[in-house]
Amino acid sequence: MSSTSNFLAEMTNSPVVVKLQHGLEYHGVLASIDGYMNVVLKDTVEMVENNKVRNYEEVFLRGNNVLYISQK
C-alpha cells in the first residue's frame, strides 16, 4: 500500500476537515475513504466562508470535488 493511502486510511475515525473546490468545507469524523477520494463523514457541519450552513448525520462527498482532507 502506498504511503498516501496509508495516510488517508490512518485518518479514519478521527475528526477531519474536507475542503472542496468551490469553498465549501465539511467538518466531521472520517468514516471511510476510497481511492477516488470519495469520502463519508459522520456528524458533519457544512461551512461556507466560516458560516455554518447545515448539519449532516452522515454524508457522502464525491472525490473529484475534494481539494484537501486535513486531520484536526
Binding site: M1, L8, A9, E10, I33, D34, G35, Y36
Partner: protein, 100 residues
Amino acid sequence: MLFFSFFKTLVDQEITVELKNDVEIKGTLKSIDQYLNLKLDNISANTTKYPHLIAVRNLFIRGSNIRYIHINPSLVDTNLLQDASRREAMASAGDKIGGK
C-alpha cells in the same frame, strides 16, 4: 454498465434531456452507448439562445454535456433498478483504501 443497460430499455421512448448549458431538449431516444452519448430524433428544444436548433430534427449529444434526463415514470421498473444497483455494487467493490 447499469445505466447503459437502463437507457437501452428506453430506446424509442420520449425523454427530455437537460444539458449543463440549461438547454432542454425533448425527443425520441434512438441510440445510446457506454459513455451515455445519445441520439435523439424528432427533437424540440426550449431555447431562445440557440434559434438554429428549431430547424434541427435529430441530434447526437455527447454524454458529458448532460445534466439530467427526465423520464416517464411508467417506463421505469424501480424494483428492478434497485436490485441491479445492489448487484453492480457487489461486482465493483474495488479500489478501497484500508481494508479488503
